[in-house]
Symmetry: C2
Subunit: 232 residues, 2 copies
DNA sequence: CGCTATGTTGATCCATATCAATAAGTGTGG
DNA sequence: CCACACTTATTGATATGGATCAACATAGCG
């Protein structure tokens, strides 16, 4: 592993509080690897051999059943994924693939569990991280069950606008087909949802998003911190 | 709090490994309360003042948005709910109400957080619990996004059959309207889904469930441990 | 520059929601 | 213990959100 990547990892909430010794034990067995786009990293059902850290690029978490596939989340730098499976030593519930060229750190799960047993600060950091993950998925479930696809799209756009400092114009962070799957609809349906939101102050042209009337869009979207706030 | 309830709590995975002192600190400020059915315990958005333990009865976790409501899970004895909000000192994401007469223990969140900071065994137990919760919600999201309502119903029945030791005949654990909401459909649609599954070996009469042809039902349901297994 | 994957649009179909009416429980007070 | 009221469940008719299928356009990319 490149020595100049270590500080970035160390500064993650998950690793920042642990002892120097523990951190050393973790990174000793770790490797950094660069993957091309569209590479399958893990497959649901596999044993959790590694905890992954996305250093650059992005990784899609998705799942399949009975020939269908759905996108569950996108992991962006710098954060980890499949912590729960690693800690529980249980099979992955989601598959993962790179969406673009990405640099990842692979931490052997056994090392993570060993350090977890020894280092109390790390154990507490894991709690915070897992609680965050849990709340994110709960929000997701609420979003899916309480909103129509058009409402989900409208709120998605408002969420990303907020994430971009309230910008009225920005770029979609992923392909539309992936966005459609993430929002729980087909690509065709997303196309139509986009058109349906034009009268409500939203224009999407290619990857370019323009909020032309925030008031109307919010009136329709009714964003709610208990579903849409990504900070708590 | 009644002294004879303490051993039951103590034996929960979440509390079994912690020191005697810490446990004492926790239960010292706790109270046990009995609630009638349909009592609202907490409301989403409220600060997380207590961690709850269901001792008897059952509690429904649900959420609202824009006049719609959906049931997210049912908590049965003996387990806790809203651990994540308690630990993070963040607002509840879900509301909770008793579905029947229920005995609950209320542990002041501040006490839980204090003990969490002091007791390392407890901190680790919280990790295991949260990882479990997280994986359950992920399975739920997969269930919702990958399956039709009929498939969800079929798998729900098979799951509860397994939970009852593989019984072919058992009682529904909740009202149909609640089940419909939990499965992400309307009560009317549940009624029709039940009828649609009759030719596939499932009969539901009132609360009585009878699996008349497990092979056919499984052929349709295609249960999958990465969605339906409630033990891992 | 042309191939291939992605995105759009239209036509149609299907799953599920909604609305309405009835039936069946369930609990309460007389 | 029954009658009434009220909630829950079922059934039918209809509407609609969203999926599917098919054709075409477009954009990346080698």
């Amino acid at each position: 592993m490149r020595p100049d990547d270590i500080p970035a990892i160390r500064s993650l909430d998950l690793f920042s509080d642990m002892s120097e010794d523990s951190f050393h034990d973790l990174v000793r067995g770790a490797y950094m690897q660069t993957f091309p786009p569209q590479v399958d990293l893990i497959s649901e059902g596999d044993p959790a051999d590694f905890l992954y850290v996305v250093v650059s690029g992005s990784v899609e978490l998705y799942a399949r059943w009975n020939g269908r596939e759905t996108s569950l989340s996108t992991v962006r730098p710098i954060s980890t994924f499949i912590l729960a499976a690693t800690i529980k030593d249980a099979p992955y519930l989601m598959s993962a693939r790179t969406t673009e060229k990405s640099r990842l750190i692979l931490l052997p799960s056994q090392d993570v569990r060993d350090v977890f047993e020894r280092d109390n600060a790390f154990a507490r950091a894991v709690v915070t991280e897992l609680a965050q993950c849990y709340r994110t998925v709960v929000k997701n479930a609420k979003n899916l069950k309480l909103r129509t696809s058009i409402e989900r799209l409208a709120n998605y756009v408002l969420r990303w606008s907020a994430r971009n400092g309230g910008a009225t114009e920005f770029e979609l962070a992923m392909e539309k087909r992936r966005l459609a799957s993430f929002l729980g609809m087909t690509p065709e349906n997303l196309s139509r949802a986009i058109k349906a939101l034009r009268p409500y102050g939203l224009e999407i042209d290619g990857a370019r998003v323009r909020i032309t009337n925030r008031t109307d869009l919010e009136l329709l979207a009714k964003p709610n911190p208990l579903i849409d706030d990504f900070t708590t």
